[in-house]
């Protein structure tokens, strides 16, 4: 089963993140995604887009294309940008053994994406930038309960 792909282009502006979450929420709802699945998809797309805006473009102007669709038993989210290349799949895991009060407060976005999604693939965008493709099965259980 597939549904039509929904696409959105936003300016690299943190104030546009709510629209990105809204797009993914709409696709998840029309795909009858269970609540925990929808929560994971929304979390992942927000963290990924936020990282591109804050760290990729770093205050410079730019754009992000976001697409979401149901493909078979999973929802696939694709983000494209023109920011300097960065592969989040190679970022180190935070040290969870360190008590949270003594841990660096940032750096948790990629950790949350890894826990939310089943697959994460990064590739350089032809002509410059990044393509990030993430997917999650329509499984009602969070990953840690499977």
């Amino acid at each position: 089963m597939t549904t039509g792909q929904r696409r959105l282009r936003i300016a690299a502006d943190l104030g546009r993140l709510a629209e990105v979450r809204g797009l993914v929420r709409d696709v998840a709802a029309s795909s009858q995604a269970p609540p925990a699945c929808m929560d994971d998809l929304v979390q992942a797309v927000d963290e990924a887009a936020s990282n591109v805006i804050r760290h990729g473009y770093g205050g410079s102007s730019g754009w992000i294309d976001v697409a979401a669709e149901l493909v078979d038993d999973r929802i696939v989210i694709t983000l494209e940008d023109e920011a300097p290349p960065f592969d989040p799949t190679t970022a180190p895991e935070p040290d969870m053994a360190v008590p949270p009060g003594r841990r660096r407060p940032g750096g948790m976005g990629i950790h949350l994406i890894r826990l939310a999604m089943d697959t994460i693939d990064h590739s350089p965008r032809p002509g410059g930038g990044n393509i990030l493709v993430m997917s999650r099965r329509l499984d009602p259980r969070p990953k840690e309960e499977r």
């Binding site: 943190l14 949270p100 660096r104 407060p105 948790m108």
Partner: protein
């Protein structure tokens, strides 16, 4: 959906300030929440309950806000979230009781657990139980 904050003072065994978050806490608005906590501290708040019952989404930047609010309520300046390990000082990492959380929805609760930030807070099922526990 944006974020609305509402503050309220209640009298328990000690004066308690409740900061209720309604909407979505993300990278566009987390600094405003820290600013609100800073103002509350400067007005004398020393016991804070953050009511999360109507918070439908929390990004990792929301975790930075919660972490920073703990520091603000301990009279410290929040760490630069991008500052790295070298800037760390202060809190010893144990669960503290000056800032408590109440009523997190499943999506928000999962983010707290997945990042271990639940270990920094006493988390109550709702604000009334949080008030009663102080």
């Amino acid at each position: 959906m944006s974020l609305e904050t509402k503050t309220e003072r209640v009298e328990g065994s000690v004066p308690i300030t409740i900061l209720a978050l309604d909407g979505e806490l993300d990278a566009s608005n987390f600094e405003e929440v820290i600013e609100t906590a800073r103002r509350l501290y400067s007005e004398g708040a020393r016991q804070l309950i953050i009511d999360l019952e109507k918070l439908t989404f929390m990004a990792s930047s929301g975790l930075v806000a919660l972490h920073s609010i703990v520091q603000v309520m301990h009279g410290q300046e929040p760490l630069d979230p991008e500052g790295g390990w070298a800037t760390l000082h202060g809190l010893q990492g144990d669960r503290q009781s000056e800032v408590r959380l109440a009523g997190p929805q499943p999506a928000v609760d999962r983010v707290l657990k997945r990042t271990g930030l639940d270990r920094l807070f006493i988390i109550h099922p709702d604000r009334d139980l949080a008030v009663a526990a102080i």
